[in-house]
Symmetry: C2
Subunit: 209 residues, 2 copies
Protein backbone atom coordinates (compact mmCIF):
# COMPACT_ATOMS: atom_id res chain seq x y z
CA UNK A 1 0.00 0.00 0.00
CA UNK A 2 1.14 3.45 -0.84
CA UNK A 3 1.41 5.78 2.18
CA UNK A 4 -1.25 8.52 2.34
CA UNK A 5 -0.64 11.75 0.47
CA UNK A 6 0.91 14.30 2.77
CA UNK A 7 0.68 17.64 1.03
CA UNK A 8 -2.59 19.53 1.49
CA UNK A 9 -3.67 21.52 -1.55
CA UNK A 10 -6.32 23.97 -0.35
CA UNK A 11 -8.60 24.97 -3.23
CA UNK A 12 -8.01 21.91 -5.39
CA UNK A 13 -10.89 19.91 -3.89
CA UNK A 14 -13.31 20.52 -6.77
CA UNK A 15 -10.97 19.21 -9.48
CA UNK A 16 -11.52 15.93 -11.27
CA UNK A 17 -9.07 13.08 -10.99
CA UNK A 18 -6.30 12.71 -11.91
CA UNK A 19 -5.84 16.47 -11.51
CA UNK A 20 -7.09 16.64 -7.94
CA UNK A 21 -4.51 14.32 -6.43
CA UNK A 22 -1.57 15.29 -8.64
CA UNK A 23 1.37 16.63 -6.73
CA UNK A 24 5.16 16.32 -6.85
CA UNK A 25 6.48 13.97 -4.18
CA UNK A 26 10.19 13.75 -3.43
CA UNK A 27 10.32 10.27 -1.95
CA UNK A 28 10.40 7.46 -4.49
CA UNK A 29 10.77 3.74 -3.96
CA UNK A 30 14.19 2.96 -5.38
CA UNK A 31 13.38 -0.69 -5.98
CA UNK A 32 10.28 -0.13 -8.08
CA UNK A 33 10.41 -0.55 -11.84
CA UNK A 34 7.93 0.39 -14.51
CA UNK A 35 7.04 -2.16 -17.15
CA UNK A 36 7.75 -1.24 -20.73
CA UNK A 37 4.01 -1.14 -21.34
CA UNK A 38 3.63 1.44 -18.58
CA UNK A 39 6.42 3.57 -20.03
CA UNK A 40 4.81 3.31 -23.46
CA UNK A 41 1.42 4.40 -22.10
CA UNK A 42 3.01 7.46 -20.47
CA UNK A 43 4.62 8.34 -23.79
CA UNK A 44 1.32 7.83 -25.62
CA UNK A 45 -0.24 10.36 -23.26
CA UNK A 46 2.41 12.90 -24.25
CA UNK A 47 2.00 11.95 -27.90
CA UNK A 48 -1.72 12.79 -27.84
CA UNK A 49 -1.32 16.24 -26.31
CA UNK A 50 -2.56 19.09 -28.51
CA UNK A 51 -0.06 21.33 -30.27
CA UNK A 52 0.11 24.29 -32.58
CA UNK A 53 -0.88 23.10 -36.05
CA UNK A 54 -0.32 19.55 -34.73
CA UNK A 55 3.42 20.28 -34.84
CA UNK A 56 4.16 17.94 -31.88
CA UNK A 57 7.43 19.69 -31.03
CA UNK A 58 8.50 17.32 -28.29
CA UNK A 59 11.15 14.65 -27.74
CA UNK A 60 11.86 12.40 -24.79
CA UNK A 61 14.89 10.44 -23.71
CA UNK A 62 13.88 7.52 -21.51
CA UNK A 63 16.37 7.19 -18.63
CA UNK A 64 15.47 4.12 -16.60
CA UNK A 65 17.22 3.74 -13.26
CA UNK A 66 20.44 1.83 -13.88
CA UNK A 67 20.72 2.68 -17.58
CA UNK A 68 23.66 4.57 -19.02
CA UNK A 69 21.46 7.54 -19.89
CA UNK A 70 20.33 7.65 -16.28
CA UNK A 71 23.94 7.63 -15.11
CA UNK A 72 24.65 10.68 -17.25
CA UNK A 73 21.67 12.55 -15.84
CA UNK A 74 22.46 11.67 -12.24
CA UNK A 75 26.01 12.99 -12.55
CA UNK A 76 24.66 16.39 -13.56
CA UNK A 77 21.85 16.87 -11.06
CA UNK A 78 21.85 19.96 -8.87
CA UNK A 79 22.67 19.37 -5.25
CA UNK A 80 19.03 19.83 -4.25
CA UNK A 81 17.86 17.18 -6.71
CA UNK A 82 20.69 14.70 -6.24
CA UNK A 83 19.02 12.96 -3.32
CA UNK A 84 15.56 12.24 -4.61
CA UNK A 85 15.74 12.10 -8.43
CA UNK A 86 18.00 9.02 -8.67
CA UNK A 87 15.48 6.97 -6.66
CA UNK A 88 12.65 7.36 -9.22
CA UNK A 89 11.92 4.40 -11.50
CA UNK A 90 12.45 6.35 -14.69
CA UNK A 91 13.26 9.90 -15.71
CA UNK A 92 12.01 11.31 -19.00
CA UNK A 93 14.43 13.97 -20.21
CA UNK A 94 12.40 16.40 -22.31
CA UNK A 95 13.62 18.41 -25.27
CA UNK A 96 12.08 20.67 -27.86
CA UNK A 97 13.16 21.97 -31.21
CA UNK A 98 14.24 25.60 -31.07
CA UNK A 99 15.57 26.06 -34.60
CA UNK A 100 14.97 24.43 -37.99
CA UNK A 101 16.84 21.21 -38.61
CA UNK A 102 19.58 21.50 -41.23
CA UNK A 103 17.88 18.73 -43.24
CA UNK A 104 14.34 20.01 -42.82
CA UNK A 105 13.25 19.37 -46.37
CA UNK A 106 11.61 16.18 -45.17
CA UNK A 107 8.05 17.48 -45.16
CA UNK A 108 7.53 17.17 -41.43
CA UNK A 109 10.05 19.87 -40.59
CA UNK A 110 9.84 22.24 -37.68
CA UNK A 111 7.19 24.93 -38.01
CA UNK A 112 6.30 26.21 -34.59
CA UNK A 113 9.18 27.81 -32.72
CA UNK A 114 6.92 30.25 -30.92
CA UNK A 115 4.86 27.44 -29.48
CA UNK A 116 7.48 24.74 -29.01
CA UNK A 117 8.03 25.35 -25.29
CA UNK A 118 4.32 25.86 -24.69
CA UNK A 119 3.43 22.60 -26.36
CA UNK A 120 6.24 20.65 -24.73
CA UNK A 121 4.69 21.84 -21.46
CA UNK A 122 1.35 20.42 -22.56
CA UNK A 123 2.91 17.07 -23.41
CA UNK A 124 4.69 17.02 -20.03
CA UNK A 125 1.40 17.77 -18.28
CA UNK A 126 -0.35 14.96 -20.13
CA UNK A 127 2.40 12.49 -19.26
CA UNK A 128 2.32 13.61 -15.63
CA UNK A 129 -1.46 13.30 -15.33
CA UNK A 130 -1.48 9.91 -17.04
CA UNK A 131 1.07 8.77 -14.45
CA UNK A 132 -1.23 9.85 -11.63
CA UNK A 133 -4.17 8.03 -13.26
CA UNK A 134 -2.03 4.87 -13.25
CA UNK A 135 -1.32 5.14 -9.52
CA UNK A 136 2.14 6.56 -10.14
CA UNK A 137 3.63 9.91 -9.21
CA UNK A 138 5.59 12.30 -11.39
CA UNK A 139 7.82 15.15 -10.26
CA UNK A 140 9.14 17.51 -12.91
CA UNK A 141 12.42 19.29 -12.29
CA UNK A 142 14.80 21.63 -14.06
CA UNK A 143 17.70 21.62 -11.62
CA UNK A 144 20.42 19.90 -13.59
CA UNK A 145 23.22 20.93 -15.91
CA UNK A 146 21.15 20.93 -19.06
CA UNK A 147 24.06 21.90 -21.30
CA UNK A 148 26.15 18.98 -20.10
CA UNK A 149 23.27 16.51 -20.43
CA UNK A 150 22.50 17.92 -23.88
CA UNK A 151 26.06 17.26 -25.00
CA UNK A 152 26.62 13.90 -23.34
CA UNK A 153 23.31 12.45 -24.56
CA UNK A 154 24.02 13.63 -28.10
CA UNK A 155 21.05 15.96 -28.43
CA UNK A 156 21.30 17.92 -31.71
CA UNK A 157 22.14 21.64 -31.47
CA UNK A 158 18.71 22.62 -32.81
CA UNK A 159 17.04 21.02 -29.82
CA UNK A 160 16.99 22.36 -26.27
CA UNK A 161 16.91 20.11 -23.21
CA UNK A 162 14.21 21.53 -20.93
CA UNK A 163 13.27 19.35 -17.94
CA UNK A 164 13.35 15.93 -16.37
CA UNK A 165 10.16 14.17 -15.36
CA UNK A 166 10.83 11.66 -12.57
CA UNK A 167 8.19 8.92 -12.37
CA UNK A 168 7.71 6.13 -9.87
CA UNK A 169 5.85 5.11 -6.75
CA UNK A 170 6.29 6.63 -3.33
CA UNK A 171 8.87 5.16 -1.03
CA UNK A 172 9.52 5.02 2.68
CA UNK A 173 10.22 8.46 4.21
CA UNK A 174 12.77 6.84 6.53
CA UNK A 175 14.95 6.04 3.52
CA UNK A 176 15.60 9.63 2.48
CA UNK A 177 17.41 12.63 3.95
CA UNK A 178 15.52 14.95 6.29
CA UNK A 179 15.55 17.65 3.58
CA UNK A 180 13.49 15.55 1.18
CA UNK A 181 11.21 14.28 3.92
CA UNK A 182 10.46 17.82 5.02
CA UNK A 183 9.76 18.96 1.46
CA UNK A 184 7.04 16.31 1.17
CA UNK A 185 5.10 17.61 4.16
CA UNK A 186 4.82 21.22 3.13
CA UNK A 187 1.34 22.48 2.43
CA UNK A 188 1.03 23.41 -1.23
CA UNK A 189 0.04 26.96 -2.16
CA UNK A 190 -1.03 28.80 -5.28
CA UNK A 191 -1.72 32.46 -6.08
CA UNK A 192 -5.43 33.28 -5.67
CA UNK A 193 -7.48 33.56 -8.86
CA UNK A 194 -7.82 37.31 -8.23
CA UNK A 195 -4.08 37.62 -8.88
CA UNK A 196 -4.08 36.19 -12.41
CA UNK A 197 -7.65 36.11 -13.77
CA UNK A 198 -9.18 39.16 -15.41
CA UNK A 199 -12.56 40.09 -16.82
CA UNK A 200 -13.22 42.28 -19.83
CA UNK A 201 -9.77 43.78 -19.78
CA UNK A 202 -6.54 43.45 -17.87
CA UNK A 203 -6.96 44.65 -14.30
CA UNK A 204 -10.77 44.31 -14.30
CA UNK A 205 -11.62 41.68 -11.75
CA UNK A 206 -13.38 38.59 -12.96
CA UNK A 207 -16.21 37.94 -10.56
CA UNK A 208 -15.43 34.52 -9.13
CA UNK A 209 -18.38 32.92 -7.34
CA UNK B 1 -27.47 14.42 -25.44
CA UNK B 2 -24.14 15.29 -26.95
CA UNK B 3 -23.55 13.79 -30.41
CA UNK B 4 -20.97 10.99 -30.54
CA UNK B 5 -17.32 11.92 -30.93
CA UNK B 6 -16.33 11.81 -34.56
CA UNK B 7 -12.56 11.95 -34.67
CA UNK B 8 -10.77 8.61 -34.37
CA UNK B 9 -7.48 8.77 -32.47
CA UNK B 10 -5.64 5.54 -33.26
CA UNK B 11 -3.17 4.74 -30.48
CA UNK B 12 -4.90 6.69 -27.72
CA UNK B 13 -7.05 3.77 -26.57
CA UNK B 14 -4.89 2.90 -23.54
CA UNK B 15 -5.01 6.37 -22.00
CA UNK B 16 -6.99 7.19 -18.89
CA UNK B 17 -9.87 9.61 -18.95
CA UNK B 18 -10.06 12.53 -19.40
CA UNK B 19 -6.99 12.19 -21.64
CA UNK B 20 -8.42 9.44 -23.81
CA UNK B 21 -11.42 11.33 -25.09
CA UNK B 22 -9.84 14.79 -25.27
CA UNK B 23 -9.86 16.29 -28.71
CA UNK B 24 -10.47 19.70 -30.26
CA UNK B 25 -13.92 19.97 -31.80
CA UNK B 26 -14.86 22.90 -34.03
CA UNK B 27 -18.63 22.82 -33.60
CA UNK B 28 -19.89 24.47 -30.43
CA UNK B 29 -23.43 25.08 -29.28
CA UNK B 30 -23.80 28.86 -29.46
CA UNK B 31 -26.64 28.96 -26.94
CA UNK B 32 -24.82 27.12 -24.16
CA UNK B 33 -23.44 29.03 -21.22
CA UNK B 34 -21.09 27.95 -18.46
CA UNK B 35 -22.00 28.75 -14.88
CA UNK B 36 -19.57 30.89 -12.94
CA UNK B 37 -18.82 27.88 -10.76
CA UNK B 38 -17.83 25.91 -13.86
CA UNK B 39 -15.56 28.71 -15.07
CA UNK B 40 -14.00 28.92 -11.61
CA UNK B 41 -13.33 25.18 -11.54
CA UNK B 42 -11.60 25.37 -14.92
CA UNK B 43 -9.43 28.18 -13.59
CA UNK B 44 -8.66 26.22 -10.43
CA UNK B 45 -7.39 23.39 -12.63
CA UNK B 46 -4.97 25.80 -14.31
CA UNK B 47 -4.03 27.26 -10.93
CA UNK B 48 -2.94 23.86 -9.62
CA UNK B 49 -0.68 23.00 -12.54
CA UNK B 50 2.99 22.52 -11.62
CA UNK B 51 5.50 25.21 -12.51
CA UNK B 52 9.18 26.01 -12.23
CA UNK B 53 9.88 26.91 -8.60
CA UNK B 54 6.09 27.30 -8.21
CA UNK B 55 6.39 30.51 -10.24
CA UNK B 56 2.86 30.12 -11.72
CA UNK B 57 3.65 32.36 -14.71
CA UNK B 58 0.15 32.38 -16.19
CA UNK B 59 -2.71 34.81 -16.61
CA UNK B 60 -6.15 34.40 -18.11
CA UNK B 61 -8.69 36.86 -19.45
CA UNK B 62 -12.18 35.38 -19.29
CA UNK B 63 -14.08 36.27 -22.47
CA UNK B 64 -17.62 34.98 -22.16
CA UNK B 65 -19.74 35.03 -25.31
CA UNK B 66 -21.45 38.40 -25.48
CA UNK B 67 -18.99 40.23 -23.24
CA UNK B 68 -16.96 43.21 -24.40
CA UNK B 69 -13.71 41.24 -24.09
CA UNK B 70 -15.21 38.57 -26.33
CA UNK B 71 -16.16 41.22 -28.89
CA UNK B 72 -12.54 42.39 -29.02
CA UNK B 73 -11.25 38.85 -29.54
CA UNK B 74 -13.81 38.00 -32.22
CA UNK B 75 -12.88 41.06 -34.27
CA UNK B 76 -9.29 39.86 -34.42
CA UNK B 77 -9.76 36.17 -35.21
CA UNK B 78 -8.08 34.72 -38.28
CA UNK B 79 -10.41 33.86 -41.12
CA UNK B 80 -10.09 30.14 -40.37
CA UNK B 81 -11.12 30.64 -36.74
CA UNK B 82 -13.81 33.25 -37.28
CA UNK B 83 -16.54 30.69 -37.88
CA UNK B 84 -16.18 28.35 -34.95
CA UNK B 85 -14.52 30.30 -32.11
CA UNK B 86 -17.35 32.83 -31.58
CA UNK B 87 -19.83 29.98 -30.95
CA UNK B 88 -17.99 28.64 -27.87
CA UNK B 89 -19.43 29.48 -24.45
CA UNK B 90 -16.25 31.13 -23.21
CA UNK B 91 -12.75 31.81 -24.46
CA UNK B 92 -9.85 32.02 -22.05
CA UNK B 93 -7.21 34.32 -23.50
CA UNK B 94 -3.87 33.15 -22.09
CA UNK B 95 -0.84 35.30 -21.37
CA UNK B 96 2.52 34.80 -19.74
CA UNK B 97 5.13 37.12 -18.36
CA UNK B 98 8.14 37.49 -20.64
CA UNK B 99 10.08 40.22 -18.83
CA UNK B 100 10.30 41.49 -15.25
CA UNK B 101 7.59 43.89 -14.18
CA UNK B 102 8.82 47.45 -13.63
CA UNK B 103 7.50 47.29 -10.03
CA UNK B 104 8.78 43.81 -9.28
CA UNK B 105 10.05 44.58 -5.83
CA UNK B 106 6.86 43.04 -4.45
CA UNK B 107 8.37 39.72 -3.39
CA UNK B 108 6.34 37.61 -5.80
CA UNK B 109 8.03 39.06 -8.86
CA UNK B 110 8.77 37.18 -12.03
CA UNK B 111 11.57 34.62 -11.80
CA UNK B 112 11.15 32.07 -14.53
CA UNK B 113 11.37 33.51 -18.02
CA UNK B 114 12.89 30.34 -19.44
CA UNK B 115 9.96 28.27 -18.24
CA UNK B 116 7.11 30.75 -18.59
CA UNK B 117 5.83 29.42 -21.93
CA UNK B 118 6.39 25.82 -20.86
CA UNK B 119 4.41 26.27 -17.68
CA UNK B 120 1.64 28.27 -19.34
CA UNK B 121 1.30 25.23 -21.61
CA UNK B 122 0.94 23.02 -18.55
CA UNK B 123 -1.77 25.26 -17.10
CA UNK B 124 -3.59 25.27 -20.46
CA UNK B 125 -3.42 21.48 -20.57
CA UNK B 126 -4.82 21.20 -17.05
CA UNK B 127 -7.70 23.55 -17.87
CA UNK B 128 -8.41 21.63 -21.08
CA UNK B 129 -8.42 18.25 -19.37
CA UNK B 130 -10.58 19.50 -16.50
CA UNK B 131 -13.07 20.71 -19.13
CA UNK B 132 -13.21 17.25 -20.66
CA UNK B 133 -13.72 15.68 -17.22
CA UNK B 134 -16.73 18.00 -16.78
CA UNK B 135 -18.33 16.86 -20.05
CA UNK B 136 -17.16 19.98 -21.87
CA UNK B 137 -14.82 20.37 -24.80
CA UNK B 138 -11.90 22.75 -25.20
CA UNK B 139 -10.17 23.77 -28.40
CA UNK B 140 -6.99 25.81 -28.12
CA UNK B 141 -6.06 28.15 -30.96
CA UNK B 142 -3.43 30.70 -31.83
CA UNK B 143 -4.91 32.12 -35.03
CA UNK B 144 -5.78 35.67 -34.04
CA UNK B 145 -4.07 39.04 -34.08
CA UNK B 146 -2.35 38.69 -30.74
CA UNK B 147 -0.75 42.13 -30.88
CA UNK B 148 -4.10 43.83 -31.42
CA UNK B 149 -5.79 41.80 -28.68
CA UNK B 150 -2.86 42.52 -26.37
CA UNK B 151 -3.27 46.24 -26.90
CA UNK B 152 -7.07 46.44 -26.85
CA UNK B 153 -7.42 44.32 -23.72
CA UNK B 154 -4.80 46.40 -21.91
CA UNK B 155 -2.27 43.63 -21.36
CA UNK B 156 0.97 45.07 -19.92
CA UNK B 157 4.02 45.18 -22.21
CA UNK B 158 5.87 42.63 -20.05
CA UNK B 159 3.23 40.01 -20.79
CA UNK B 160 2.73 38.15 -24.05
CA UNK B 161 -0.67 36.98 -25.26
CA UNK B 162 -0.22 33.37 -26.36
CA UNK B 163 -3.44 31.48 -27.15
CA UNK B 164 -7.18 31.32 -26.79
CA UNK B 165 -8.87 28.31 -25.23
CA UNK B 166 -12.45 27.98 -26.48
CA UNK B 167 -14.66 25.96 -24.12
CA UNK B 168 -18.23 24.79 -24.49
CA UNK B 169 -20.41 21.87 -25.49
CA UNK B 170 -20.75 20.45 -28.97
CA UNK B 171 -23.38 21.88 -31.24
CA UNK B 172 -25.32 20.76 -34.28
CA UNK B 173 -23.10 20.16 -37.33
CA UNK B 174 -25.86 21.57 -39.55
CA UNK B 175 -25.38 24.97 -37.94
CA UNK B 176 -21.80 25.50 -39.10
CA UNK B 177 -20.06 25.97 -42.46
CA UNK B 178 -18.94 22.92 -44.40
CA UNK B 179 -15.30 23.79 -43.63
CA UNK B 180 -15.79 23.40 -39.87
CA UNK B 181 -17.97 20.30 -40.28
CA UNK B 182 -15.30 18.65 -42.39
CA UNK B 183 -12.55 19.52 -39.89
CA UNK B 184 -14.46 17.64 -37.18
CA UNK B 185 -14.52 14.39 -39.11
CA UNK B 186 -10.84 14.12 -39.88
CA UNK B 187 -9.05 11.19 -38.28
CA UNK B 188 -6.48 12.47 -35.81
CA UNK B 189 -2.83 11.53 -36.28
CA UNK B 190 0.36 11.76 -34.29
CA UNK B 191 4.00 11.00 -35.02
CA UNK B 192 4.92 7.44 -33.97
CA UNK B 193 6.90 7.07 -30.74
CA UNK B 194 9.91 5.95 -32.77
CA UNK B 195 10.10 9.49 -34.19
CA UNK B 196 10.51 11.31 -30.89
CA UNK B 197 11.47 8.82 -28.14
CA UNK B 198 15.07 7.82 -27.59
CA UNK B 199 16.90 5.37 -25.37
CA UNK B 200 20.31 5.86 -23.80
CA UNK B 201 21.24 8.65 -26.16
CA UNK B 202 19.70 10.64 -28.99
CA UNK B 203 19.12 8.43 -32.01
CA UNK B 204 19.23 5.17 -30.04
CA UNK B 205 15.82 3.61 -30.35
CA UNK B 206 13.86 3.08 -27.18
CA UNK B 207 12.45 -0.42 -27.35
CA UNK B 208 8.70 0.11 -27.21
CA UNK B 209 6.74 -3.07 -26.48
Amino acid sequence: MEPPLHAPMPGAEALAEPLRSRWSPSIFDDEHRLTRDQVATLLHAAQWAPSWGNSQPWSFLVAERGSSGHDVLVRHLSRGNSGWVPRASVVFVTATQVAPAPDSGDGKGWRGGDYALHDLGQAAAHLTLQARAMGLHAHQFAGFDREAVHDELGVPPWYRVVTGIAVGVRGNPDDVPERDREREQRERHRRPLADFVWGDSWGDPWAAP
